[in-house]
Amino acid sequence: MALTYTSREQIEVYRFSVPVAIIVPLLAIFFQAFVPLRLPFFSVFDLPLLVVIFFAMARRSPVAGLLTGACIGLLQDSLTHHPLGLYGIAKTVVGYGASSMGVKLDVESVGTRLLVTTGFYVVHQVIYFTIARALVGLDLQWSWPHELISAVANAFLGILLFWGMDRLKQRA
C-alpha cells in the first residue's frame, strides 16, 4: 500500500504497438456501451477512464497522456447526446495528471494503482460535473456516496484490468 517515490533512473517508460493503442480504447468504449445493456450495474464503471489512466501512467509522457485522454474522451462523448468535449476535457486532465504522476511514483504496485485510480476517478467526475453544469447547463445531481463507491469500484476493476494490460506493454 506504500507510495514509493521513484528516482528518474528507476523509471521505466513503456510503449504500445499501434494496434494495441487503437483497439484497446475502442474495446473499452464498446464494452462500456454494450455490457450495461445486459448488466445494468456495470454502468458505474468507466472503462475508458481506466484505459486512459493505464496508458498515461505507462507511457509517462504528459503530452501523450493528455492526447490519449482527449481522444478517448471525445470518442466517449460521441456516443452520448451531450455536446462533444465533456468527457474530452475531463479525460485530458486525467491523462495529463496520470502521466505526470507516473513520472514520480512507482505505479506498478497494487496499492499505488488503487489509490491513484480512486483519486483520478473523483477528479474526473468533479471536472465533468463542473463543465456540464457551468458550460453546458446540464442539471446533474452530485452525490458523494455514489461517487465514492463508484471510485472504489473502478479502482478494484482497474487493478484487474491493469494486471491484464501489463502484458501488452513493451519496454521503450
Binding site: L26, I29, F30, Q32, A33, F34, P36, L37, P40, S43, V44, P48, P62, V63, L66, L67, A70, L74, L75, Q76, S78, L79, T80, H81, H82, P83, L84, G85, L86, Y87, G88, I89, T92, V93, Y96, S100, Y128, I131, A132, L135, V136, G137, L138, D139, L140, Q141
Partner: protein, 451 residues
C-alpha cells in the same frame, strides 16, 4: 519555454475543447435540430457493428436453446395461453361494441385521432455508456425508414424517441433522460402534465398543482400533445405523490423496464384521420356463443325453422340485419366451457333469456320488419346449420321478444306457437343464459334502435 511545454499543451488542448463545447452549445440553442458531427458518425460506425454482431450471436444462441432444446413446460403454458386467448376473444367482443359506440360519437364531434400506421421492429444493441446520458442504440436506421423524432415503444408502453439517425443505426433518447419530455394524461382524472426524467433516471410529472387529485396507482397515458407519441399509450403508474408548497412531486414508475430493453417498435408512420365506423355489423357475444354450440344438419329451405331463424336474427335488438352468424376468427376454436357465462353477460344487454321453446311470434314480427334479411336467410348458403336457431333458443323468450317486436312492428302471434324441442346443448346454453342474464327490458328497446 521548454519547462512549460507540457502545461502549455494541456492548456491548449483544454482551451480548444472548451471553444468547441461553447460553439456546440450555442449552435444547439440556435438550431435545435442540430446536425450530426462527423466524429459521432465515425464512432457509431466503429462501435455499433460489433454490438450488432454480439447481440445477434447472443440472440441466435438463445433462440436455438429456447426453441429447440429447453421446451419444458411449454405444453402447460400453451394450454394456459389458449385459455387466455379464448377469454380475451370474448372480452374483445364487448370492447369492440364500446369502441364502435365511441367512434360514432367521435365522428359526430369531428374528432381526429392518430393511428399507428406502420411500426418497425428494432433491436436494442447498445447504450451511451454514460449514466448522465440515458439513450440506447437500435440496429435500424434511415435505410429502414426511421427518422428523427419518431416515437419508440414496446409492448408495455413508450420507450423514447429517435434523436439521431444514422444509415443503419439510430440513437433513441429514453423517457427517463433529464432532457426528455412527454405529454401525458392521467387516466382517472384526465389531468394533463409533462413527464420528465430526473438526473437519477426517475420519472416525474412536472408542474402539477397541489390541489389536483393524483393518487398512487393512477395510470399515466400519453396525451398526444407532444406530437410524437400517439394518444393513449401506456407510460406508467404513479408511484408516490408528495405535496410541495405549490406543486406536487409526482413520481411515476415506467411501464417499460427501461434498463432491460431488448426489442422495441419504432412508429415510422402515423396517420391522423377521423375514426371510421366499421361498415360490417359487430360480432356479438351471442353470435360467438351460438357458434360454440354444437349444430345439427341443415334444414330444408322450405322448413319453417329457416325463415324463423333468419327472421329472428334480423330482429335482434342490435338492430343490425344479420342473416347469418358471421364466421369471425374471433369465434373459432372456442370450447364450450367456462366462457359461456361471459358470453351471456355480454349478450345480456341485447338478448333476453328464453324458455325451452323457440318463439315464433318474433319470427313473424321480424319478418315484417326486415323482409330482405329474412329472404337472405332462406338461402341454404346463408344458413349455417342450426346456429341461428340456437341463437333463437338462447334469446327468443316469449315476453321480452314481444316487447322488442312491438317497438318496431306489431307482433301478432302468440308467444308459444309451434313449440319446438331443443337439444340438450341448447337447453344447457339456455340455462346458462337464464342464470346469468339480467338485462332489463329497456335495454332491448334502446339497443334495438341504434343511432
Amino acid at each position: 519555454m521548454g519547462r512549460y511545454r507540457n502545461v502549455s499543451i494541456l492548456a491548449a488542448a483544454i482551451f480548444l475543447q472548451i471553444v468547441g463545447l461553447a460553439y456546440q452549445v450555442k449552435r444547439h440553442t440556435a438550431d435545435n435540430a442540430g446536425s450530426t458531427r462527423l466524429i459521432r458518425a465515425w464512432t457509431v460506425s466503429a462501435v455499433t457493428p460489433l454490438e450488432k454482431i454480439v447481440v445477434r450471436a447472443q440472440t441466435g444462441t438463445t433462440d436455438i436453446w429456447h426453441n429447440y432444446f429447453y421446451l419444458r413446460g411449454v405444453r402447460q403454458q400453451n394450454r394456459v395461453l389458449q385459455q387466455q386467448i379464448q377469454d380475451l376473444q370474448l372480452e374483445q367482443v364487448r370492447l369492440r361494441q364500446d369502441a364502435e359506440q365511441a367512434r360514432r360519437l367521435q365522428t359526430l364531434l369531428g374528432f381526429k385521432e392518430q393511428f399507428i400506421d406502420k411500426p418497425t421492429a428494432a433491436q436494442v444493441i447498445g447504450l451511451s455508456g454514460s449514466e448522465q446520458s440515458r439513450l440506447v442504440y437500435l440496429d435500424k436506421g434511415s435505410s429502414d425508414g426511421i427518422g428523427q423524432d419518431m416515437a419508440v415503444i414496446s409492448s408495455e408502453g413508450i420507450v423514447g424517441k429517435a434523436i439521431q439517425v444514422f444509415r443503419h443505426t439510430s440513437q433513441v433518447l429514453l423517457i427517463n433522460d433529464q432532457t426528455s419530455g412527454v405529454g401525458t394524461i392521467l387516466e382517472r382524472t384526465r389531468l394533463q402534465g409533462v413527464l420528465k426524467g430526473t438526473p437519477s433516471g426517475e420519472l416525474v410529472l412536472d408542474k402539477i398543482m397541489t390541489q389536483e387529485d393524483v393518487k398512487p396507482g393512477d395510470r399515466v397515458l400519453t396525451s398526444g400533445g407532444d406530437q410524437i407519441f400517439p394518444k393513449g399509450l401506456p407510460v406508467g403508474t404513479v408511484e408516490s405523490v408528495t405535496r410541495g408548497s405549490e406543486f406536487l412531486q409526482v413520481k411515476v414508475r415506467p411501464s417499460v423496464a427501461l434498463n432491460h430493453l431488448e426489442e422495441v417498435l419504432v412508429i415510422t408512420k402515423k396517420a391522423e384521420r377521423e375514426p371510421a365506423i366499421a361498415s360490417s355489423a359487430p360480432v356479438r357475444a351471442a353470435d360467438i356463443l351460438a357458434q360454440r354450440l354444437p349444430s345439427v344438419p341443415d334444414q330444408p329451405p322450405a322448413s319453417k325453422t329457416v325463415p324463423a331463424s333468419g327472421a329472428q336474427n334480423s330482429a335482434t335488438p342490435g338492430g343490425t340485419a344479420k342473416p347469418t352468424v358471421p364466421s369471425s376468427p374471433v369465434a373459432s376454436n372456442i370450447p364450450a366451457a367456462a366462457p359461456v357465462v361471459r358470453a351471456t353477460n355480454s349478450a345480456a344487454s341485447t338478448e333476453k333469456p328464453t324458455g325451452s321453446t323457440v318463439n315464433q311470434s318474433t319470427v313473424h314480427a321480424a319478418s315484417a320488419t326486415d323482409q330482405s334479411a329474412a329472404t337472405a336467410t332462406r338461402s341454404p348458403s346463408n344458413s349455417p346449420g342450426l346456429q341461428p336457431k340456437l341463437l333463437n333458443s338462447v334469446s327468443g323468450s316469449g315476453v321480452p321478444q314481444v316487447q322488442k317486436a312491438s317497438v318496431g312492428v306489431t307482433a301478432t302471434k302468440p308467444a308459444a306457437q309451434n313449440p319446438k324441442p331443443v337439444t340438450p346443448a341448447v337447453a344447457s346454453a339456455t340455462k346458462a343464459a337464464t342464470n346469468t342474464s339480467a338485462a332489463p327490458a329497456q335495454n332491448d328497446k334502446s339497443e334495438g334502435h341504434p343511432q
